[in-house]
Amino acid sequence: MPVPLTFIWKDNNGKKAETRFWMPDTVTLDNVNAWPSHLETAMLLVSDARIERAEVRWNFPLSLNTTAGPNSDVSRILMLFYRNEGDPAAVSLVPSPGALPLDTVGAYRGVRLGLAAATVSGLLPDLERIADGTLTPGGTAWPGAFRVGGVTRQEEA
């Protein structure tokens, strides 16, 4: 599967544009770094706009063949907060938290604290798996035994 490489340009008036290429499936996370600067140099031979940045979006195969449950609704969201002392907090959204009882999520507007999400029986291993497998936006690990809080939200119709 080709990997998309997108360049974001800007002209003198501040207007932006995009150019996309497809890299071969032989490109890996280890050798992809050579591509943006290579094509940037080539494109600047034919363009006088400024290249602001480039973005590579990498699709990974999934191992589980999940299906949507009959009551699934992605407008219901479980918001996971992770925070270290002194670090900025990270928020991850898990749409349609079917593992939570409906009365925990509730049908209401706005945001309501739902820290109980982290104490619902059986969910803590999954929440901790997320905390163990991810970083803060600043790139540091999440220390501490209890670092997950939950808030649930239902978007307005």
Binding site: K15, A17, P24, W35, L39, D48, F60, S72, L123, R129
Partner: protein
């Protein structure tokens, strides 16, 4: 100055989920920037399991995004004549000649145009170097850019200058 990957910024992993009504949403996480492809697949699998334990929506896709930015010392300012709505439309073709890929480069240099026409001759030195870079990639022949379906691009087919909503026939 070349675009560089900021190794201080964690990788962003996004899962795309769909509910029973076909509505879509996503779940995003930050991953270590130094991981390999194998490591990334391990992270994706672990987090997919965690999301599947929490959500009853269908997990459709996992995408890792890498960002490349200009260094602080990059001071290039596009000239006043630059205009991203003008494009250099370039068509490449694969070895069979059947599969094509079209690319649009914003604000083409005026030196590409000949005799006031929008057509750019394939003999133009700058265009030729650009085409070689796309076809060969940074790793050499056989490892260049592809079509959307993964067909290797082998040569440039044509190039013309266009303006938004005013595309000329080739």
């Amino acid at each position: 100055m070349p675009l560089v990957r900021d190794v201080n910024i964690p990788l962003f992993l996004s899962f795309s989920l769909t509910d029973n009504n076909g509505k879509r949403s996503s779940a995003g996480f930050w991953l270590p920037n130094t991981i390999s492809v194998t490591d990334a697949a391990t992270y994706v699998a672990a987090l997919e399991t965690a999301i599947a334990g929490l959500s009853d929506a269908r997990i459709e896709r996992a995408t890792v995004t890498l960002n490349f930015t200009q260094p602080d010392t990059y001071v290039y300012i596009a000239p006043a004549s630059s205009e991203v709505e003008r494009k250099l439309a370039v068509t490449f073709v694969d070895g069979t000649g059947f599969y094509q890929f079209g690319s649009e480069i914003p604000s083409p240099r005026f030196t590409l145009e000949v005799d006031g026409t929008d057509s750019v001759p394939l003999s133009n030195a700058a265009l030729s170097l650009f085409a070689d870079a796309v076809v060969n990639g940074p790793l050499g022949p056989g490892n260049g850019a592809t079509t959307f379906h993964g067909d290797d691009l082998t040569r440039i087919l044509g190039a013309t200058v266009i303006h938004r909503n005013r595309k000329k026939a080739r």
